[in-house]
């Protein structure tokens, strides 16, 4: 058992006294008669008043009290009286008097001179002489009277105030009566439920202190996921719901062959310039390419075939062997389609991927040298542009973009090619949200896919829709080492595809 606290004691005494006597006329005398400080009693009174258990009336009194300086004068006399008393009949040097009187010397000299109590020997300003036998120390008397609580004239008060010898002090104490909620023993209010309450059973009598609902809860230590990864997950769900299988995209290093040539992208295409693509010093070139397929790719570039007239240029193997960091995940789609073409009989597929791609571009508010590409493709006999539009509407409406329109575009490996625009209600305009198309026969037929098999595909970046979604206008605030931890901590749940 904890010792009973003195405050609880005071409270019990006070309530018992009020119960029997009906009132406390002066809290100061109650405090001194019960041996507690008035400060302690005051806190008990305030608490009980708040619960309306006691009814307190303030008693306020203002009194003049002596400053520390004045207290000294009341005890030892005013500085001028002290000075006069200190001067022997033959007089004394200023130095000797200063040593004797200390701080009181300067003030004493001035006042004593004014009262003509002291004088100086002719020709020797240093020797102070006493000019009166005895003095009447009025200041000391006035201070003593004030100290004893006796009345002094207002004129004296003003004078003392000016000399900074007195200050006004406010004292508060209380008279007490029983309040409307008076009880002899107050119930303690609980702030929390403890296992002790449950064990002892005193929860039955428990009354709760009012809770401050304006205050916030305690900050908690928890883990967080990166906002871009949250959006990636939401889009992944959409693909899986639509029956798409993920492609293995964990191969950042790719050969030009799979990244460009196999996609019927000519070797002089601007995208293959070093200012768009990261080429590699190590490993500089790929070691192995599927020779049969390579021959067909070479032929379709140089002279066509499969119904095409080709580009009509000398295709160079060296160029195809150059390694690079893949510029698009379509390099992976191409490998997957080639693999699919080798499997007989042909089976239709829906593939997707979301992974990193690399562009040797200048970095700015909307461009990074690496970003995430979202890609989806469907491969089957007889697919149409209408199918592509239908699938795109399905996909983008789940991303919250239900108003789409399509613009003719150019892409070396798709024909027809369509840029996808979505109407943005906030920006009040059509925004380009992705690219799409049907893979060219010059890309699909050399792989060995059967005639009549079409591939419809689309791609977009993960960062752009995420920036639009969260209203972020600098890509580096979303992705990379400069992202603010507070953004990660405060980002709302991603509701795409709910």
């Amino acid at each position: 058992m904890a010792e009973k606290s003195p405050a609880a004691d005071v409270e019990a005494d006070l309530l018992a006294h009020l119960n029997s006597a009906g009132e406390v006329s002066d809290s100061r005398s109650f405090a001194s008669s019960h041996g507690v400080s008035h400060l302690e009693l005051e806190s008990v009174i305030k608490r009980l008043s708040a619960f309306l258990i006691v009814d307190s009336t303030d008693i306020i009194k203002e009194t003049w009290v002596l400053t520390d300086e004045a207290k000294g004068y009341a005890a030892k006399g005013s500085p001028e009286a002290q000075l006069v008393a200190a001067i022997p009949p033959e007089g004394a040097s200023k130095e000797a008097l200063k040593a004797k009187l200390g701080d009181a010397f300067d003030v004493g000299m001035k006042a004593a001179a004014r009262n003509k109590w002291i004088g100086f020997e002719k020709g020797n300003k240093d020797l102070v002489l006493r000019k009166v036998e005895s003095v009447k120390d009025e200041l000391q008397e006035q201070l003593k009277r004030l100290e004893n609580g006796e009345a002094v004239p207002d004129k004296v008060i003003d004078d003392l105030k000016r000399r900074k010898l007195i200050t006004k002090e406010k004292s508060i104490w209380y008279s007490l009566k029983k309040g409307p909620e008076f009880v002899l023993k107050r119930k303690t209010l609980a702030t929390d439920v403890t296992s002790e309450h449950l064990r002892s059973g005193d929860w039955k009598d428990l009354e709760f202190k009012d809770y401050n609902y304006g205050a916030q809860g305690q900050p908690i230590a928890k883990g967080y996921v990166q906002p871009l990864m949250e959006v990636r997950e939401a889009i992944e769900y959409i693909f899986i719901m639509m029956g798409f299988t993920e492609m293995p995209t964990n191969n950042f290093v790719e050969s030009s062959f799979w990244n460009f040539d196999a996609l019927f992208q000519p070797q002089q295409h601007p995208a293959r310039d070093s200012h768009d693509t990261f080429f590699l010093k190590a490993p500089a070139a790929t070691r192995q390419l599927p020779e049969d397929y390579l021959e067909k790719v070479k032929q379709v570039h140089e002279s066509g075939g499969y119904g095409s007239k080709g580009y009509g240029y000398d295709w160079k193997r060296d160029e195809a062997e150059k390694n690079l960091l893949r510029t698009h995940t379509t390099a992976v789609s191409t490998r997957m389609l080639y693999k699919l073409a080798q499997e007989k009989p042909f089976a239709p597929k829906r593939y997707y991927s979301i992974d990193r791609v690399f562009r040797n571009e200048a970095v700015d508010r909307t461009h990074l040298a690496e970003f995430h590409q979202i890609e989806g493709l469907i491969c089957d006999y007889g697919l149409t542009l209408g199918d592509l539009i239908g699938v795109l509407e399905d996909f983008f409406s789940r991303l919250g973009m239900s108003k789409l329109r399509f613009k003719p575009a150019y892409n070396p490996y798709t024909e027809p090619s369509m840029e996808i625009f979505s109407y943005h209600d906030g920006l009040k305009k059509w925004v380009e949200v992705g690219n799409s198309g049907m893979f060219r026969p010059e890309m699909l037929l050399p792989m060995g896919l059967p005639e009549g098999v079409n591939v419809i595909a689309w791609g977009l970046s993960l960062e752009r829709p995420t920036m639009i979604l969260y209203g972020i206008d600098n890509i580096r605030d979303l992705f990379g080492p400069k992202v603010d931890f507070n953004l990660i901590k405060s980002n709302p749940l991603c509701r795409l595809g709910l």
Binding site: K281, R287, G390
Partner: protein
Amino acid sequence: MPTVSVGRDRLFAALGRTYTQEEFDALCFEFGIELDDVTTEKAIVRKEKHIEDDGEVESDDEVIYKIEVAANRYDLLCLEGLARALRVFTGTEASPVFQVSSVPRGSILQMNVKPQTSQIRPYVVCAVLRGVTFDEARYNSFIDLQDKLHQNICRKRTLVAIGTHDLDTLRAPFSYEALPPHEINFVPLKQEKSFRADKLMEFYKSDMKLKKFLHIIENSPVYPVIYDSNRTVLSLPPIINGAHSAITLATRNIFIECTATDLTKANIVLNTMVTMFSEYCENKFEVEPVEVVYHDGNKTVYPDLSCYKMEVSLSDILGPIGISLNEEQVVCLLNKMQLQAEHHSFNGEPRISVSIPPTRSDILHARDLVEDVAIAYGYNNVPKSKPKFMTIGGRQPLNRFSDKIRAEVARAGYMEVLTFILSSHEENFDMLNRTDDKSKAVIIANPRTAEFEVVRTSLMSCLLKTLKHNIDHPRPIKIFEVGDVVTLDSSRDVGASNNRRLAALYCNKVSGFEEIMGLVDSIVKVVRAPHVNFGEKYYVPTAEPEFFPKRQCKIVTSDAKQVGYLGIVHAEVLRKFGIPDPCTFVEMDIEALL
């Protein structure tokens, strides 16, 4: 995508009507070009000279439309072609028919090709435009188109270079030669005095526009050069033309030569020049041929303006779009795209013969006709449908597993970050007290800046960098990332492979070594046997330079295979990254835990 600047008022005059900007935007969208910017000549000059926009708009300042066109449509790179395509598309005009004029035998102009040219720039193709009427706008357009072609299909003049000359200042036959530089002397365009070719190359090293082309021939023992029969230099391709034959507003007869390393593209470029500007010839759309005579006696007449024929069935065209139309309708749509077509029937099947004019070099396959029909029909009019078959969705096991590990680490109170795969060499090695023994890292050949020199071989520098950028964040800081590193790998076709990693970093006033061990313990617990076997003791002390000695170890499976490592980050490493507080770092191979 190339952008073409055209005066709005001239464009509308050529289109025979005016449009509001909204209407023009809509037309562009439908046709597949884009009104990229609306500006004025003065604004362009201000921008080039970096002068502040003073906000003054003068009413007589010509409005310029900057229009983005497809990269394979060279016929849209000038106002003439753009306006023509839109007129045909909107049905106000039929496609032009281009003709090579018939020249009496013996009077055809000749270009003789010398054998030495094969060492440096083997091909030349030529044509003549007769009776041209230029005004300032037409003249500027003629020059601009050459610039645009040089930038795009000519790949900055490496593949093809165009020279245009006032034919009346020259005397045929011409000869295309390749000579040692000191044997070539002429007054180049915009200069007064004669230069020897090697001196001229020296002279142009300080020319902002021309210096970027010098590399094409600079190191060759012979330079390509074209002379007329008076030994007047027409041009020193691909650098500069001679001043003698310069085109002016008064020029009436134009000789065009294209020298090249790629004959297909040389023909496309020549055909683009003549099909665009024969519009201003006395006999509209008629071009005079030139005979190119090779040293072995072979002769070819250019330009070849014949149409390329394609024969397709109706279903070949409509099948991939998913619409049904009859033959007449398809022929109409093809006509809107400047493609001449006729329909007939073969064995009862409707078929279409298409003639592809020399302006449409982008058409390679019947699939290109499909796109043109779809554009003419309107992409946004195509009825939407659904692919018929269903498939089962699924994920890559490694990616699904990685997500489970991510969730596990986030549940342990760590914050996920996402960093870059590319890094500077210094961050990946020196700043981690590591040295590059050249056996591990993929190195970029052409980094734009030091940030992109290597592909990361661990996530350590990435997390330290991220921590540095958030150094004022309250402690403890607990971050993690799941991502790929790449290392050289001779077992792969490309010579490198990815490896999926988990990395976590703890930073506080004390190192948090036990905290990170606790995280590893919890991961070991969730991937344990029968999937991955760990013995009683899976921490084995190490002595790596990036960590403090005696406060680092590797994580091993029961068959002693290393699956990760951890340690208190070395004070030197922390100093290099600018981190004042102790950190513990762990990295694990997720693929080894799968």
